[in-house]
Symmetry: C2
Subunit: 389 residues, 2 copies
């Protein structure tokens, strides 16, 4: 298998982008990544697209063809493949692209992630979000996606592995960084009090514990590591791209305060990269709710169970803190969460950090970065590790 | 790259299966394929699922996890990836699985395709079907999926490359074979008159020119060719699995009576397999409408432009005919078209033919088989070639 490099990244502004269509967003991100990699379209020989539900959000299936078409690549008949894995759609598309290059099947691959969510009403949007849970035994019985995460938070508090304040502090961490990211949906730092006093969503979680509804797109260009320098001096190495599954329903698990799929994917990723959690300098984790962020930090091995919340509350995961710096992009909470784009946008942020182009969010001397992305309540998890060259 | 074998196949009955859920169908097909391959679940190290729109048909996204879960593989955390490519979803999932085994990333891969379509009303179903066309410039302007295919048929008739009778005869060919397939949705041979006099859908196409709405699932097990005999004596070789894209909208093409993506994918597939169209004994082609079947036979190189219709009308593609035997399964028209399952079911039929287990539908001495699957109006096409061992 060949080593793989990321030679270009592109991301749109995230937010309620009513003046931009799905295809306009996808193409904007893709073109930025191709420019960043100094590529012309004719060099691309494979495309992988992460998208959760364009079929429901904008009544468009078959979107891999759409992207090929609007990227001007239809005349080359470039094969393009759309992946769906709930919230992990973009991350799983990235992994398929890494495998395509590693195996020698493709030489220059474009990865795209996009979602256009804000054209629908709130009831429709929530029905779509709930559809990554078990339709027959969870969503169909009336539990919402927020409700499932609230149960996890309740259990953590009951078990004494996190306090309400510690859980809430994850949003403070994300917003602190989001304020420094020009592409973030929310560019405003907040206090713990704001989270604790925000309107209730599903007890104990309030509005500020939940990632927003967002439009946006992100893109990457991959090639064999040995070819990277032909295209650019500014690239990073993909040290691991792993994926694991778990039961669809939360109720089927013996412990709901840890995602087995994160643990498993992380184990495989650290082994492949030849490092441990202690080597990671920056991490983007899937804080679709504050509680998922806290859980991820433990499942990835950055902290022991019961210790992540305390660390985040103490600011140790913030820029300048002494632990791993988490969600410098602003995370799903503040950068925003256009579902199919999120997993790709996480990788974009890690690349920016490792090549030293993260501006005010830069973690000095970052050598290893990790991204963790989850579909459903941890039923599909992808963990990727990148390395500065 | 390693050679790849198919060591197990499974398919459910196709039809209006109101008593079976999506998950029940998926598991039934998967279990049949695993039994056929003499496998236990713990040997599977990767899963690829083709599905077009469970998000809209049954309000369930994240279905790769669902399949892992209900196959009893969640405890192994097996990575599972869902692919969507409109009507080609199953075929593209098969191709991803072939690549995973060929590259050495996986050793035993389960491929599944499934769709549960009949739980919705006709208007909702048609809106979903139309969503594989261009939502902004085709479906959004009022043209239906049937309407787009009717334009292709009109153009063929106008150009003199097919007559109405020749186009209609494709359904006669499919129904002749479907009558012999115990798993087909429609098991009744029909006459040309039945097609020509069927209720109008989009002129010149009538009800019998259109594939039906269907529930069903199909499954395959893949492993390296060198390992196949450890599992079974009854396997076939995957000689090629190629894919190509074209513009999303039909209106963007210079010629609408040929799919450039079929031509391109077929060229690559014949080259990789080291054969020509003349070597193919059996073919399953994507007759979502009769006219798409006729077009496929030309684009795949079995007949010159303007000659496929005549050959089908003369019965040359039927069992016992002198040309390539086409759609022995009954095709999309008579076997049925549960969208995500179709591309996988085509491969199942070709495997049955090449290992000599196709019963009354058997083409004697079949050595090479081909499957062609299309998403949208030829905007994503997959062409696979299998070889008897």
């Amino acid at each position: 298998m060949r080593d793989v490099a990321i030679i270009g990244v592109g991301v749109t502004k995230f937010g309620e982008l009513w003046d931009k269509s799905f295809r306009a967003l996808g193409i904007e991100a893709g073109m930025k990544a191709m420019e960043d990699a100094n590529l012309s379209g004719s060099e691309v020989d494979g495309i992988f697209i992460g998208n959760m539900s364009a079929g429901r959000f904008i009544n468009q299936q078959n979107i891999a063809s759409l992207i090929v078409d609007y990227s001007g690549l239809a005349s080359n008949n470039v094969p393009a493949t759309r992946i769906e894995a709930g919230g992990a759609s973009g991350a799983v598309a990235f992994r398929q692209a890494v495998m395509a290059v590693a195996s020698g099947l493709n030489d220059v691959v474009l990865v795209g992630g996009a979602e256009k969510m804000t054209d629908l009403d709130d009831v429709s949007i929530n029905s779509i979000l709930d559809s990554t849970a078990d339709a027959e035994w969870e969503a169909g019985m009336g539990v919402t996606f927020a409700g499932l995460h609230a149960m996890i938070a309740q259990r953590m508090i009951h078990d004494g592995t996190a306090t309400r304040e510690e859980i809430a502090s994850f949003a403070v961490n994300s917003h602190f960084h989001g304020a420094l990211n020009p592409n973030a949906q929310f560019r405003k730092a907040i206090t713990l009090d704001t989270v604790l006093k925000s309107g209730p969503v599903a007890s104990p979680l309030g509005m500020f514990d939940c990632a927003p509804i967002t439009d946006g797109a992100a893109s990457l260009v991959l090639c064999p590591l040995e070819d990277a320098r032909k295209h650019t001096d500014s690239y990073v190495k993909v040290s691991a791209a792993e994926q694991a599954s778990d039961s669809l329903g939360l109720f089927q698990r013996s412990d709901i305060t840890s995602y087995g799929a994160t643990v498993k994917a992380a184990e495989k990723a650290y082994r492949r990269a030849g490092i441990t959690a202690a080597d990671i300098d920056v991490a983007e984790v899937h804080d679709v709710y504050t509680v998922s962020g806290i859980m991820a930090l433990q499942d990835l091995g950055f902290f022991k169970k019961g210790e992540a919340g305390k660390a985040v509350l103490e600011g140790r995961c913030q820029l300048g803190g002494d632990a791993v710096t988490v969600n410098t992009s602003g995370g799903l909470k503040a950068r925003g969460h256009p579902i199919g784009a999120t997993g790709v946008a996480q990788i974009v942020e890690v690349v920016e950090q490792l090549r030293g182009s993260a501006d005010k969010r830069q973690v000095e001397g970052a050598k290893y970065g990790l991204a963790q992305s989850s579909g459903g309540t941890g039923s599909t998890v992808a963990v990727s590790i990148l390395e500065a060259i």
